[in-house]
Symmetry: C2
Subunit: 164 residues, 2 copies
């Protein structure tokens, strides 16, 4: 077993996990003021984006799945294994996401588009560097993944879509 200590917590943003429309969600990553001083984030504001490692803390261990399932239960999509999708109920319940860094206020990192809900423990924050990413032309993914992600980061959802 590997024991990790959260370096901070997500404050604000959404209170519940919702599948889509994360693009406009703003929140704060509040780094732990006991463990860290502001020199831990010196220079971070020179980056436009972060990579954030966080815990899906509302997923219970009993909910974790390992085998194949249809993403979002959608009958149009194939049964794929938990390591072939990005669902929350995965082993170790870790999320990894890029988001825009809007500003650094002491140990508060203001972000937009982070798909982690209020209260999520944050395990690491890294600067997003383009060289860590594959060339866009080399990336291949199945159609179901593109369909699923279609509205994931939508930021301009019209209010008339927001009904119950």
């Amino acid at each position: 077993m590997i024991a990790l200590e959260p370096v901070g917590v997500v404050v604000g943003g959404r209170a519940e996990p919702i599948d889509d429309d994360w693009g406009g969600v703003e929140a704060v990553i509040r780094l732990d003021g006991v463990s860290f001083a502001t020199d831990a984030v010196r220079g971070l504001a020179d980056f436009s984006h972060l990579v954030v490692v966080f815990r899906f803390h509302l997923v219970e261990e009993s909910e974790v799945r390992t085998g194949a399932r249809r993403p979002r239960g959608n009958p149009d999509w194939p049964e794929v294994g938990m390591f072939a999708q990005r669902a929350r109920m995965r082993p170790n319940r870790l999320g990894v996401s890029a988001c825009a860094l809007l500003g650094v206020d002491g140990l508060d990192l203001r972000v937009r588009g982070l798909d982690a809900i209020d209260g999520s423990p944050v395990l690491d924050v890294k600067p997003y560097m383009r060289e860590f990413e594959p060339e866009a032309a080399d990336v291949r993914q199945p159609a179901w993944a593109s369909e699923l992600m279609h509205g994931y980061y939508r930021a301009d959802r019209p209010p008339t879509d927001a009904g119950p």
Copy 2:
């Protein structure tokens, strides 16, 4: 504290951490055959790339830094906080990297360009989906980061450069 169980281990590739030239390094992510069956990776081969979360297991807890330092000790680069760089001696010692998926053999994932050394515990494997990444035109990073990353994924380093 959050306790995590490795889902697998890196087998092969480099035996020691070396700063640059990861592009051509091939290795295997061997998922744990006790915890998982092959349905856990069903559909994964339809993706060209993975996102891998792993532990920098050779970094001792006593080596972890939190404050500002010059990346690689390079006097040409500024002192930046540990959350503003991707160095290994970071809180929780977590690495997050994309790599190319060459093939899936049972629970063995053959990869290229994973910057994790032989024996690294793997905490999660996710499919790389382009929609999770920011638009390239929106990404901004300081000059030192681009300079540092210049040779990081170089794959075609000529043998004459490989001296002691």
